[in-house]
Every structure is written in C-alpha cells, then in structure tokens.
Symmetry: C2
Subunit: 323 residues, 2 copies
C-alpha cells in the first residue's frame, strides 16, 4: 500500500488510498492576492496568521505555504520571506506544511527550517527542475509534488501527461527517492473550456494509482474556472476524483460546500471509520444552519473539517426501498 508520510514537529499524517482525503490548505499564497502580497512584503503577517488558524479550524490536513510576492528579484528575496512565513505558520498550528515555491533557493531555505517532514511543492518533468529539486528531495528525505508537464508545456493528451509523470517517478528513483514519496499532480483543466477535462483526469488518476501506484493531488478549483457557481462544480468534482483514486488536493478548506463533499466522500470511500467525523460534524445539523469553524478542529486535522457545517435545508427522509 502506497503511504506518503508528512509530518509537523508533533504530528504525522499518512497520505494513502486507505486514508481520509488529504486536504492541503491553499490560502497562504500571495499569488493573485495583491493585498496579501503587499502585507507580506511589508512584514505584516496578520492575514497569514488568520489564514493558518482558519484553515486548521476548518479541518485542513496540512497547509501549503507560498511566499511568491513577485518581487523584482525572487531569488534574492523569496527565500528569506518563505522562511519567515513557514516559521510563523509552524509556530501557530501543528499541521504538516507544503513548501511551495518556483524558486529552488527558497525551497532549500524552507527545508532547512521546516520541522517534521514537509512536502515539497513542486517539481515538473522539465530537466532543469528535475536536476534542481530532486537532489534536495533526496538530501532532506521529504516527499515531493510532481506536476505532469515538461519543457513542451501541458499536453492535452492524457497519455503524454501520464508519460511525463512516469518519467518523473523513474528519475526520482534514480536519485534514490521512493515512488511513495512522489505525489503526482495529473493537472486539471477547466471543464468549461475542455469538455473532456473530467473524464481525462479520472482516467489518469486510475492509471496513476493502478500502474504507477503513486499518491496524487491537484489544484482542485481549476476544474470550475470560468463557470458560474464554481463551488457546486468543485463539490461534485471532489467525490468523483476521490472515487477515481485521488488521495489529496490543494484546495480551500474554508469553503463549507467543498469540505462537506470531502467528508461525504470519505464516508462513502470507507475512510471515515464508523462515519465518526460525519456524525460529529452533522449530528446537530439544522436546516440552513451555517456552522462556524470550531477551534477543536485545530487538534483534529485529517478529519476533513469536523467544524464547518453543512448548509442545505433538511427535509423529508427518503423512505423508499431500493429499486
């Protein structure tokens, strides 16, 4: 059984086919968040602190940390800012972290200060990336996200994306990195632009699980880009990718509809033992109720958000026998 171990100073989490879906909180990322970027550049981490606590309270399993404020010279400035951000976050919550940067020097600086066993986000199939990132992954003995694109970009052919993922896994093995420490991102396209995007990723996830036997992840909300009511599309996508074998996703754990879908899929996938998290989360569910994140969840990561409540109106229990 493929087991990818990530850990904070005090908690170890297993990503695997028989584990609750791993929700990697995406919020601590200044990309496209000008206000956050400006704050971080000014040394103000109020939003980072709020996002860390809120995502943990909503049930994130681990937190992605990105400090790419797109300064003039990221190589000079990003390492120090990422280190500072990682230290603040790991001082606040005991969730494993994902060190997210396109700057190799920033990833290495992060690896030096991150406690436990962080996830490196990410390497691609590009030669330059493979040669820069894989030695660090081996040196620090950590898992890495492998994005299935290369110098030629993102192929629209799922077979090519699978081949790129396979190449990265094989190259990692050349460096002495176990396949279970490579978490493949098959790349999710917007369904509004590519009608086949869903079926492509479901088929890819099956092959990655059955042929490469690796854990998988994705930038979940990409699927709904450009469509109205994106949370509804995201919430339908989550059970489908979990059913297809995906074991983690980089997503926003603060969204109740998406987290409800994760919790339901864990129940249906048999990874929420005795439905305990579901029952704990919804036992007092009231029609139209908006439950607030409960700090208790900070101490219960991996339960996929025992805090954030559902929001649908209840109603007549279905009473019909099968068929």
């Amino acid at each position: 059984m493929t087991r990818t171990i990530v850990a904070s100073a005090t908690r170890e989490i297993v990503i695997g086919f028989d584990q609750p879906f791993c929700v990697i909180g995406e919020r601590i990322n200044p990309t496209g968040r000008k206000k956050l970027a400006a704050e971080m550049q000014a040394g103000n981490f109020e939003t980072v602190i709020k996002d860390a606590l809120e995502q943990a309270a909503c049930g994130a399993t681990m937190l992605d940390v990105n400090a790419g404020v797109t300064a003039v010279d990221p190589n000079a400035t990003e390492p120090a800012l990422l280190v500072q951000t990682l230290e603040i976050v790991q001082g606040l919550v005991d969730l494993p972290l994902s060190i997210d940067s396109s700057v190799t020097a920033a990833i290495e600086a992060g690896l030096k200060v991150a406690k436990g066993r962080p996830l490196v986000n990410s390497v691609t199939g590009e030669e330059e990336k493979l040669e820069a990132i894989l030695p660090l992954v081996k040196k620090y003995d950590v898992p890495v996200v492998a994005i299935s694109n290369d110098e030629t970009g993102i192929s629209m052919d799922p077979d090519v994306r699978f081949a790129v993922a396979k190449k990265i896994v094989e190259r990692a093995m050349d460096y002495g990195i176990k396949p279970q420490d490579v978490v493949v991102d098959p790349l999710v396209m917007p369904i509004g632009a590519l009608g086949d995007a869903g079926r492509q990723v479901f088929a890819l996830l099956r092959r990655l699980r059955e042929e490469l036997k690796v854990n998988t992840t994705c930038g979940l909300s990409n699927i709904s880009f450009g469509l109205p009511h994106r949370h509804g599309i995201n919430a339908g996508f989550i059970p489908m990718v979990i059913g297809a074998g995906m074991t983690s996703a980089i997503m926003n754990p603060v969204r109740p509809q998406e987290m409800e879908a994760v919790r339901a899929a864990n129940v249906l996938n048999g990874t929420d033992k005795d439905c305990m998290t579901w029952i704990k989360t919804y036992k007092d569910y009231k029609p139209g109720e908006h439950a607030a994140p409960a700090p208790v969840a900070v101490n219960a990561p991996g339960d996929a958000g025992a805090a954030a409540g559902g929001r649908r109106r209840g109603g007549r229990e279905a009473r019909r026998a099968a068929g």
Copy 2:
C-alpha cells in the same frame, strides 16, 4: 453503446453511458406515506398531481408511479388504482413513466394503459418473479429494472449480487429480451450500517458496465439511511456512482442539493454539452439564493433540473495554479 429507450406518448429518452444521468422521480409512491395512501384509496389524487408537476418542474427525466396502498387484497385493488394513477400522471406531464409494483397483475394492467415505452419496476432473480414478469416485458417490448436479489435474499457478497444480475440478464435473453432493456439495480446498502457499502457498489457498477454492459439504477437515498444530514451524503454519493458508471437512479428530484450534484456530475462526466444546463441553471446564481422550480423544466426533462437552484454561499474565486 448500451441504449435503453424509454418514452412517453410524445417524448423519447435514452438511458446510456453517454447520456445525462436519468433521474427517476420517486415521489409518487404511497409506501411509508400514510396520508398519500389514504388519499389515493379515497380517490383523491391532489398529492399525486402536485408531486408529478413538481418533480417534472425540478428536472426529473422520468417518473416512477407506485400505487401500493397496502390494501387487504392488493391483487384485487392495486391494478385499478395503478391504472388510474398512471392515466392521471401521463395526462399531466409528458415524461416517460416507470410502472412500479410488486403485484404482477398491476404491472400488466399498467402496461396496457401506459403510453410510449414505460419502464417496468421491477423483476428480481426469484424464479417466481422471473417467470411472471419477463413474459410481460417481452410481450409489451419494454425495459425492466432487475434487482440483484433472489430467493436467498440480498447477499452481502457483491460477487453473488453480480451473479444474480447476470442470471437475470441471461434469463431475459432466453425470453428474447435484449440486455440493453435490462436496467440492473445492484442494491445499495446503508453506509452507516455497512462501511463497505460504497466501495461495494462502485465495484459492482464497474463490472455491470464493463462485463454485462448494462445500464444501472438504484434507490439512491438508501445509502444515507440512519445518518444525520442525509442530503449531504446523497449529494456526495451521486457523483461517485455516476463516475463508477451508474446511468440512472430512483431519487427525489425536488431536493436541490441532490439535483445540483447530478448537474455537476453531468458537467464533469461530459454529458452536459458545453455545460449548457449548468450555465442555464446557475448563471444568475446568488449566494444563499433558493431558486424555485420553474415550469420551463417540464419541457426540458433530461436536463436534470435546470430549475432548482443551488444554495451555497459564493465567494472568492480560487486563483491558484495547479499544484
């Protein structure tokens, strides 16, 4: 490609792997609805009429019609009551109907008056049932729901349930009934009682699709029996069964959360061409809005409810790149 054709007097619907999920409205069924049973026995069809119009408005693809009011002698009374109910419903909406009864005489009486090509619900693997129902299915050239249990009851072993389904399909072929006219119900167990119920049905659906190449259905809400916030479990189950190959379900189309999950899964499964139904349904989506069923949907079955609106709060668009 497996195509099960059902039809009303004026509209034909195809159930198939490449079609939008077929939502069979479950509401017109007095089982466990004492008030409805009493009304129907008294010749009052107000609730039947309301349920027919409302389910059509919410986007049901077809309607199940059951008149089992559990009289002293169903054989004597149910045929006439089912005929009366079918005639009222097909006079109101132009959706294909499912003739639902455990009384053979009622099914035959229904087949005599139902317009178009109704679905017979149901036959099982019990010898007595096979010999009573299959000749009618052949005589009237209609499709039938095949429930995978037999004299020994419902097996907890999915291989046995598959074998029963296979036996029914083969027996139907002996009667000259094509496999594409047998819609298999693999039987859904409550996940709260059987933690493996989800994975069992997903595996069964794959085998039914890949080995028997038949269309499938189920009594969808059974999965959440006994759990809190059942709509959340049902809404997570729908995308998972659709992803596993299920092509229809007997469910309540009046539930916005479940119908939103059907619409999202159709988009992600590539059966909502250009996301037209999704966009039409949610283009004016407002946070927390409760859209009412729109009669227009009566003329748009198969679009899985362009009417009932979503209910989640909207929010910040995810802005993050994959991985």
